[in-house]
Symmetry: C2
Subunit: 232 residues, 2 copies
């Protein structure tokens, strides 16, 4: 594994505090692999053999039931996924597929569980990470249950705008059809929702979004830190 990647992983909250010896031991069993786009990395229902870390590219977490499917979240570098299943040694609840060419580190789940028992700093970091994940899903659920699709889109755009701070424009990171699924709507409806936000100064050109008047959009979207602030 290249040094730069080794250090990127080490810098993750999950690994930054643990003993050197244990981190090295984890990395010894790990391997890094390049995947093309649209490769299924894990399948829901299967045991989780590896903790995954996205080093570059992006990964879609999705689920299926009775012929329907839905995107649950998108994982971007550098962060991990399937942590809960790894820790519980339980089947994955979601499938994962690469959205683009991606570089992924794989750490055998058994190793993670072993080091988890040995290193209490690591155990503590896992607690923090899991608590964060839990709270993120609760927020997503509130978003789904309390808002209409137009409101979800408006708030989504405002959250993205915050990342691209300063500028009034940003790029949608991925296809609109996937955004639609993440937001719990159909692609057709997403198109219409974008139109529905035009009166609030939202302009779309391909994947390029412009927001004329953030305050105006906020008056409509009513963002709330208990739903939209992913850092707390």
């Amino acid at each position: 594994m290249p040094d730069a990647e080794y250090r990127d992983i080490r810098k993750l909250d999950l690994f930054s505090q643990m003993a050197d010896e244990h981190f090295t031991s984890l990395m010894r069993g790990a391997y890094v692999q390049n995947f093309p786009a649209q490769i299924e990395l894990t399948t829901e229902g299967e045991p989780s053999d590896f903790l995954h870390i996205v080093l570059s590219g992006s990964v879609d977490l999705f689920s299926e039931w009775n012929g329907r499917d839905t995107s649950m979240a998108t994982v971007r570098p550098v962060s991990t996924f399937i942590l809960a299943a790894t820790i519980k040694d339980a089947p994955n609840l979601m499938s994962a597929r690469t959205l683009e060419k991606s570089r992924i580190a794989l750490i055998p789940s058994q190793d993670v569980r072993t080091i988890f028992d040995l290193d209490s700093s690591f155990a503590r970091a896992i607690v923090t990470e899991l608590a964060q994940c839990y709270r993120s899903v609760i927020k997503a659920q509130k978003d789904l249950k309390l808002r209409t699709s137009l409101e979800r889109l408006a708030n989504y755009l405002l959250r993205q705008l915050k990342h691209a701070d300063g500028s009034a424009t940003f790029e949608l990171g991925f296809e609109k059809r996937r955004l639609a699924s993440v937001l719990g709507m159909t692609p057709e409806n997403l198109s219409r929702a974008f139109k529905g936000l035009q009166p609030y100064g939202v302009a779309v050109n391909g994947t390029h979004i412009t927001i004329d008047d953030q305050a105006d959009l906020e008056r409509f979207a009513k963002p709330n830190p208990l739903i939209d602030d992913f850092s707390t």
Copy 2:
């Protein structure tokens, strides 16, 4: 605190493995209180000063936004809530109110965080508990995004039936209006959904549910362990 309750709490997965000394220390700072029905125990957005444990009665976790509100979950004895906020020392994402006369133990969050740092068995138990919570919310989200309201109700009934094992009948634990909110629908629609399940052998009499032919209902509901099995 009565001995019986002390032992009930000790038996919880979260506390069963930790050192006696630490458990005693936690319990020293804790206190137990009886609340009448419809009392708000915590409010979303407020800091979480106490880890709560429901000893008897039941508690509704709910959220509000822009004049709308929704039930997120019901907590029944004996279990804890607001664990993630306690650990992260972050604001509560949900409000909690008693549904009936309830007995609640309150452990100062600061104490929980202190013992968490001292006792690695406790830390490990918290990881397991949080992973469990996380996976439950993911399942709830899949339920919401992949199923119609009729399918959600059918699967809810089948899950309840599993708890009351053997019997083909059981009692709804709470008001239908709350069930409606938990399932993400209106009370009116819940009434209609119950009617919609009559062809599959579901009969309702007040809060008393009878399911003639479980296999028939399952053919419609298509329950799936990755959504409906709360134990994994």
